[in-house]
Symmetry: C2
Subunit: 143 residues, 2 copies
């Protein structure tokens, strides 16, 4: 009856290719992760403490990093902490972040991405990844 069948498949395929094992913890953490857009290891730790009080913080970190390698998540260093971004069904995207209330809006913009390529090639670079964050005030926070 578990949801996230497709993503669980992605994880299992990655595990298979790397001689890794499918564990109760990995299943539990993936289920919780896929319900979020972004989450920190610490947040997930507290959230899962109810379901399994013995789940260690190190396991959360290890598992979220595993999800990154499997292409389900993407780590973003955000201020002092690391946010794990759920990219399982969305793929790449960038973020608008309200400095008032902390709200995060995801967006994609092909024109910007194209101009990025232009800037890169003009400087002799080949882009591998990028990071774009717009900080400002959302409509409610401006009153």
């Amino acid at each position: 009856m578990s949801k996230h069948v497709k993503e669980m498949g992605v994880l299992k395929e990655h595990l298979g290719k790397h001689q890794l094992k499918f564990t109760r913890q990995r299943e539990l953490i993936l289920d919780a992760f896929l319900k979020q857009e972004h989450i920190t290891a610490e947040e997930m730790y507290h959230q899962l403490a109810r379901k399994d009080p013995h789940l260690g913080l190190a396991t959360i970190y290890r598992t979220l990093n595993l999800f990154c390698e499997a292409g389900l998540a993407q780590a973003r260093h955000f201020g002092t902490q690391t946010q794990y971004d759920n990219i399982s069904h969305k793929g790449h995207h960038d973020h608008l972040i309200c400095t008032g209330c902390g709200k995060i809006v995801e967006f994609e913009n092909c024109d910007i991405e194209r101009l990025q390529e232009e800037v890169a090639s003009r400087n002799g670079f080949t882009i591998q990844t990028h990071r774009l964050e717009l900080y400002g005030l959302c409509s409610p926070c401006r009153q």
Copy 2:
């Protein structure tokens, strides 16, 4: 005979407005900072150890953060460390970063900035700041 007269003025004005004092350390650190495009506190600490072996690391951190408040620097959390970006005469700009050799190229692109505004207003946001980093390989690093 010191250079950086203009920036020293900016600093002094900020100090004056906030009841802060102009010290030998602040002058020394600003002079060193303005010779760099980007630098970490640790790098500056080692660099200045020759001129003043007693300059404390905490003072470097405090002073670089002060420069941010005065609008001379901008902190960017970069991996595990904080880079202080010299924006005194360049103003805002973004970065191309080579994942091979670590080289950083600064750039400005009005078209991208304009599209960012568009994205923001379409989502009801007013942009205060943004952060755009393009990661890839520079021409030498691609062989």
